[in-house]
């Protein structure tokens, strides 16, 4: 699989929904496969909250596989032998694109907590500039799950002529009250970490690791499902030698400790807050005073909406809402609810039906 990673500078700047403006910004972009002569085989994949531009494969042995490696690659559901796949790290992220860890060119200091609030629509607008840069006038598909699915939906709304198909997986047209509530607990854990310093931790050379860790532990519970936790861990005790913390009794505790710890090493706390705020703030119908039908009327792309039955963060009924709104305004839209044992995370895994459906959707006229 031909893979290319590139930091692309955009000097034209970007007006954000919040009213703020980035005079220049960078996007860290990774591409897989090759763009054909007609430039009509390009697929944009949008990452979820904690993902980044590394969607597939791995660049070195000790690196983890890309977040959607099960789905993207040679011969996989999104086949890189056929398609040119593009993934960028979202603005406000912490994997190379402009975000709290970048230098503010106006002040020559790190942005830190002062990086402006970004939204799903801002991400889509920045990705539109990326498609112009790459010379792609129409995506074959824009796809993503969770927060990435919101971007795919917003693409179809914001740029109806710029994509043929949208893959909208494990997501909703807006975050639910419960979603916002969960995110707030995560943010509160970070804010109450003494190393957070009201977001100014970079200038104090510290990191609110413990807050990030707690936030991620909660996150993992919401991404999983009761069944998968039962299956994976049951009530098994953690063996004494591999305990991460002395206080740990059960395997599930150890797992959360491990995942939280790892995440807090790599993720940035201000990014965490920005990303979750973007997720909470998204409402596809916002621009039309709450009428989803009104905004969805603009869509010309064909939609594939997939929900997963064990997902309680963005449950199947949220997928069905998208489908019903599409049907109300004559937008072409298929909707399937798959058996996914992995809860919300199911969209990341290449189950048999999921693969077939994505392939069929990509091949369809």
């Amino acid at each position: 699989m031909k893979t290319k990673t590139e930091l692309i500078k955009f000097n034209q700047g970007l007006d954000l929904e919040s009213g703020a403006r980035l005079n220049t910004f960078d996007l860290m972009v990774e591409t897989y496969g090759e763009l054909n002569k007609d430039k009509d085989n390009a697929i944009l994949v949008c990452h979820a909250f904690s993902g980044n531009h590394r969607a597939a494969g791995k660049s070195s042995d000790n690196e983890a596989l890309g977040w959607w490696d099960e789905v993207i690659g040679s011969g996989k559901a999104i086949d890189t032998d056929k398609f040119f796949v593009v993934c960028s790290n979202n603005l406000g992220g912490c994997s190379g694109s402009s975000g709290p860890l970048s230098l503010n060119p106006e002040t020559n200091k790190l942005y830190g907590k002062d990086f402006p609030l970004v939204s799903v629509t801002d991400w889509v607008n920045s990705q539109k500039l990326l498609s112009d840069y790459l010379g792609i006038s129409k995506w074959h598909m824009v796809a993503g799950g969770s927060l990435g699915g919101m971007q795919a939906l917003q693409w179809a709304i914001s740029y109806p002529n710029k994509l043929k198909k949208a893959g909208i997986f494990a997501t909703a047209t807006k975050s639910s009250t419960q979603n916002i509530a969960m995110n707030e607990v995560g943010r509160e854990a970070i804010r109450k970490d003494k190393n957070f310093m009201e977001g100014d931790y970079l200038n104090h050379n510290v990191k609110p690791k413990s807050g990030l860790k707690t936030a991620r532990m909660l996150g993992h519970i919401t991404y999983s499902s009761e069944d998968i936790m039962d299956q994976k861990f049951g009530r098994k005790f953690q063996d004494i030698k591999s305990k991460i913390e002395g206080t740990v009794d059960y395997e599930v505790e150890n797992y959360l400790q491990y995942k939280g710890e790892k995440f807090s090493d790599t993720f940035d706390a201000n990014s965490y807050i920005l990303m979750t705020k973007a997720m909470d703030g998204y409402d596809a119908s916002f621009s039309s005073n709450g009428s989803l039908e009104e905004v969805m009327k603009r869509i010309k792309a064909k939609l594939l909406v997939v929900g997963f039955d064990s997902d309680w963060l963005y449950p199947p009924k949220r997928s069905k809402e998208i489908q019903l709104a599409a049907m109300n305004v004559d937008v072409q839209c298929s909707c399937v609810i798959l058996k996914g044992e992995q809860g919300h995370d199911s969209f990341l895994f290449a189950s048999d039906r999921y693969v077939k459906i994505i392939k069929g959707f990509l091949d369809s006229k």
Partner: protein, 197 residues
């Protein structure tokens, strides 16, 4: 679905109308209607492989059990709802028809006729009918509510549905004078275009 039925459905569905096909199978009918009559079509299906085929054909399909989900589409204002060869498999066909006519101006229904003479003959010989139209044995059939042509038309009358069009086929799937004249005995299958009064 046999070709005469498809032909009749195509004739009855207006150009550029909005159509929902309950139990749409592999989406062939919708594909034909989209290609030939420029309809805006949606299918509802429960079978995984058939859903897969619909998506591959580029047909909008929704995974749903018709027994549970007809009313979900009430807001969608369809011109025609199609229920081909599945009304007798539903738990409550009369309620399904009511719901279909709530979401759509008209409704196309096809049904196998238990009054067909070969079925009567099977029954007279003390066996459950097995015909080209009712091919499964009693223990394998998905049919829960079989009826005769007369039964169906009585139901339409009692429910206040208007029969705008009807057509009858013999067991070769063809039009025949006998099936048209004495449908309750000689039609193997009936197809109706119904609406609310």
């Amino acid at each position: 679905m046999n070709t005469s039925l498809i032909h009749i459905i195509k004739k009855w569905v207006p150009e550029k109308s909005k159509v929902i096909d309950f139990g749409c199978g592999d989406g062939s009918l919708l594909k034909d209607l989209i290609d030939e009559k420029k309809i805006r079509g949606y299918g509802v299906e429960i079978d995984h492989n058939k859903i897969q085929e619909c998506i591959h054909k580029g047909i909008s399909v929704i995974e749903k059990d018709i027994d549970e989900g007809i009313q979900d589409f009430e807001s969608c204002n369809f011109d025609v709802a199609v229920m081909a060869s599945s009304i007798q498999c539903l738990k409550e066909p009369h309620l399904a028809l009511r719901k279909m006519l709530k979401l759509s101006k008209q409704c196309i229904v096809t049904l196998p006729n238990l009054g067909f003479w070969k079925c009567r003959l099977d029954l007279a010989q003390g066996r459950m009918p097995v015909t080209p139209n009712l091919p499964s044995s009693w223990y394998e059939t998905k049919n829960l509510h079989l009826c005769t042509i007369k039964d169906f038309e009585t139901l339409c009358f009692e429910e206040g549905f208007v029969i705008n069009e009807k057509f009858f086929l013999d067991d070769k799937g063809a039009k025949s004078a006998m099936a048209s004249t004495f449908p309750n005995t000689f039609a193997s299958e009936g197809i109706y275009l119904i609406a609310k009064k």
